[in-house]
Structure formats: structure tokens, C-alpha cells
Amino acid sequence: MANLTLVQAINLALVQEMEKDDRVIILGEDVGLNGGVFRVTEGLHKRFGGDRVVDSPLAESGIIGTSVGLAMAGLRPVPEIQFEGFLGPAYDQICTHAARMRTRTRGALTVPMTIRVPVGGGIHAPELHSDSPESIYTHTPGLKVVMPASPYDAKGLLISAIRDPDPVIYFEPKRIYRAFREEVPEDEYTIPIGKARVVAEGEEMTVISWGASVVQCMSAIEKSDRSIELIDLRTISPIDMETIETSVKKTGRVVIVHEAPKTCGVGAELSARIMEHCFLYLEAPVQRVTGFDTIMPYYKLELEYLPDTERISKAIDEVAVY
């Protein structure tokens, strides 16, 4: 056991999977000598050499498109996209190719690749370094979408993602890269993709979130004197409705928290499904606390945009008394 940050937990998972399986290779911008702009791949170039930790040209579509080829040939590429704002140029290769290859070839060709992407706001970064596009990829069949909210989960989920026979987008909430530490086992372990985590149990209400927002939810719940169940989705696609349903049938009240814009965000899907699965149990409308339907503002105003403890608390109170 070591007390690790989320960045360190990811780095450890990468090291261990690369040691174990030489089909695993890393490629991306500045992932080599520089160890990534967030130092997530620190030390890997030295340890595994330039053939396995590859500084690529500055071209996101190229990074993902060649990874599709590498994966079809049987390797397990782990491409990094430097910031979620630069997924845009790779959108087509992700959604038109990686996501479709297995089904369009009826399994003849597959794409076991894990796309690592720092995600989300709150670090005073420049434009396009603070977005939350998880809904886009959740709406795209053929992908799995994962976002850890703690160092322990980060390691276990990344190992699962790398070993998964299908393409996984592994979002790394950069706001909590180094925000806190947690005991992380040295040995390898996996956390199943598709299973949410009940962070805290409670009776009166269910709060659902993922990524960095889980931390805000925890502090809002701490401040409240109600008995609140907190679910960290961990996997955004597929959605673990079983865990959600069990909780909502118990509590009858739900608040969903995410950073992405509200309209057509993942919160909408959760809300719709909760109605579909738990209609007769709901005592209040499912409430969403989200980013606004605006462009993520530059950093002077970013804290106005991001769901904060105050807004979450407010929602909890409103839902509680509905």
C-alpha cells in the first residue's frame, strides 16, 4: 500500500500493465521525455524506451487513427489526448472508426484501445482546457466511458480499461489529479467497468455524480443533516442502473451533479431512466445541478459555472422538501 495521488495511481497502473504485457504502448503529444504535461507518464519513457512510449506528431486524429490500426493488429495502444478540448479533431476517428469496427466487421476486427484524456474545469487553465464532453461519447454506441473520482478507483479502472477488448475513453478529472491522496495497493487489481460505487449510504435522498464533482457532493452532504446516499458512477457508459435503481427505490428523491452543460448531458439520461425505472417511487422530480448551457467561461468566471457545494446543497434542500 502506498499513499498516492490520482496522477500517481494512474502512472502506477500504466507501469504495471506495461511490465506485464508488451502489447501495451503509449502514444501522444509530450508523453515521452516530458512525461506528459500533467506528468502522468513520468518515467515511462526512460523505463520502457521510445518504442513503447512514443512522442507523436501534433495531430489528434492521427493519434487515434493510428491507434485504431495498432489495436486492429492486436496491440493495446493507450493514446493520450492532451486535454479534452482537443478531442474534437479526433472525434471522427473515435466515433466513426474505433466505436464501429467490431460491429461493422462482425467481430473480425476489434479495437482494444484506451484513450486517456484529462477532463473538466477548476484549474484556472486557458480556453478549451476545462470542458466535460462525456455525454458526446456516452451517446456514441460502441464505446465505454469511464471516469474515476479517487486514486484507488483510478488504478483499478485503468487496468480494466487497458484489458478491455473494446475501446474505452478514460477521462481523468484533472481538478483532483493531486487534490488528495489515498491508500492504493501495490498489487494489480481491477474495478469492473459498468459498476457504480456507493460512496455513502443514506435513506432520504440519492445524489449521483462522477469525476471531480463527487468531491463537491461529499462536502455538500457533509454539511447537510439529512441522510443522503451518494453514488459515484465511475463508469458513465454503460450506466449501472441496478445500483441507481436500488438506491432510488429506497430514497425516492434524486439530485444529479455534473460539470457538463445541462441540455443533453448525461444527467438527462439518468433522469429519464430513473423516471422509466422508478416512476412510482419518485417523490420529487429528479433534480440536475450542472454546468450551464453556455460555453465554459474563461477561468475568471469558471467557478460561477461549475456546480459548487452551495448549488448542490440548495438542490438537496429543494428536493428534500418537495
Binding site: P57, G62, G69, A73, T103, T105, R106, A108, E276
Partner: protein, 372 residues
Amino acid sequence: MPITKAFTTEIDYVSILDEHGNFDAQLGSDLISNDELVQLYEQMLTSRRFDEVAFKLQRSGRMGTYPQNMGQEATSLGAAFALEPHDWLVPCYRENTGLFHRGLPMEYILLHWMGDERGNQIPRELFMTPLAIPIGTQMLHATGLAWASKYRGESNIACTFFGDGATSEGDFHEAMNFAANLDIPVIFFCQNNHWAISVPGHIQCSAPTVAQRGVAYGMDCVQCDGNDIFAVTKVVKDAAQRARDNNRPTFIEAVTYRLGDHTTADDARRYRDEEEVEMWKTRDPMIRMRDHLKSLNLWNDSKEAAATEKAETLVAEAVKRAEEIAEQPVSEIFDSMYNTIDDPEMIRQRQTMRTSSIGQDPTQVESTEQVN
């Protein structure tokens, strides 16, 4: 300091058997044996027959949109011939001739255009990716496939095919650039057939040659007569050697022409002159090849008749296999989505797809009065 030269270059044009029947014996003599020549010609003939039949299948409603290969047979065929059987072929959609040469059963192509994914379920040992519908995107996959070979120390390389139009896409550039800078053993084979649907070549590339696209990357690049199977064979062999020996990619522009419409959904008379088509008909790679075979006394009318009949049979059998394939179970829409289908929502969608709307949770439906 006066102005100095930072860079100079020149690009070769390779032609061995031209449309007038001139044959450059020095370049061409050891490239293709007589037996091989005959086989290649027969394969062209089969491919052209396939085109005719596919066209009729579309017109009679037995198949969807189909893009003919007619006029471009020498390009993919020469390339497939010049490569090893374990080299990856990464096609666009106008390379049937080469794919058939490699051994792809013809019904795969038919199934694809009949709207059946099993046309893409290509056996691994053929080292071939399925037809690529989105233009310009598959070169990156070829680059990745070749990269994987290099990474593993394997000897196979990749060759990817695309049109003149495809060279306008950003992904083309990124693939060329990755390959050149990371030393990846891949061949970029551009079939410059002068048109991208209705858009003429100079809108895609107004430079004197498309071949010079490769100069941007410091890549070896060459232009050849794409209707000359000798020239195609030579440039691909040379490229393959560079790739195998030094992990160097090559960009090939094969100059050819699409004799038919873009697809069965197109009517080329709307946008191009009949004279242009007529001129290119005289450069038809099949005529040239046949005349050459005859000049070598390898071919005559009775061989032509026999080969035609054989081609007809082969194609007819393939059509039969395609049309008589077992119906695809509807659940296939779901079954190949992931390695394992374990998401309860997806399982539920699969189970209820024909009998219920999908938003409803069945446990709730049961708890209320049922209709139907």
C-alpha cells in the same frame, strides 16, 4: 548572402507498357512472368464481369448503391500482385480487382453493398480491412497496422488505397506525416482517376502532380501510369522494398480514369465531357494488356471466350452465395457491439426490440394493465 537554395527535388514518372503497345523491356522484363500475366489478365476480366453483374443487381433492386472499378483494374491488381500475401491491404471501395487477387471471395463485396455487415467479416489470414466508406480515413489505420508490424519485428507492411479526392482530407495528411516521421513501413497508393464524384481533380490538387504531395513529408514519391500493370507492379515492388528494408513509406500516384459513373447513384453525364471518357477508353488497361498478351502469343480469341465464360460462372456463383446466405438474425444488431453484452439495458433492448417500446421498464409494465 544572396538567396540560396534550401531544397531541390524531382519526381519520376514510370511507364513501361504504354497505350500504344510500346514496352520498355529493360524496366519490364523481370517483373511479371508470362503465366502470371495471363492470370492477371483473367482476373481483370473477372473483375470487369463482376462490375457488370453488380450494376445489373443494383438496377434490378437486388443490391444497393455500387461503385464500379471499370478502367482502374490495373492499379489495385498490380499492387496486390507486387505485395506479399501477408502484407495488409487497406482499401477504399474501388479496389475489388486487387482484393479478389488476394483471395477475397467475391460475395464479400456483394454482401457489403447488399447492406450486410458480413461482407466485412473478412478472414484474418487475408490481411485485409473492409471497404472504407468515409473518404480518407483508412490511411491512418494502414499506418497503425504497419506500425504494429514494425513494433513486433514482423516482416509484413501495409498498402492503402484511396482516390484523388481523398488526398484533400486532413487524415490523409496526418497519416503521411506519421508514417514519414516515425518511419512506418506503409505504402500510400493514390488512384488518381481525375474525378471525385463530380468534382474535377484540380479542385483537389492544383499542383502539376498529385505525387508531389509526398514531398511535404520528405517521403519517396513517384507517379506512374496507373493503367499499366507493369508500371504499377514496379513502383509497388520498389516501395515495398524500401518499406521492408528501411521502414520508409512511399507515396504513389497512379494516373488512371474512372470509365463508369461514380456509383450507380450517379450520372456522370451531368458533369463531364463524353470526349474525355472516349479518350480514356483508348487507354483502358484491359485492352492494353490483351494486346500485349496477343503480341506475346499468349492470348487469342478462343482463350478470351473461355476466360469470359469462366468469369461469368465465377461471378454467378458468387451472386448465388451472396443471395442465398442465411438471414442475419436481427439480434446481430446488438451481438457484435461489444466483446460481451452484459449491460442490462442493452440486453433489454435486444429482448424487447420487436415487441415493446424500449423506454419502458418491463417490471413496471407487468405491474400495470397490459395491452396486446
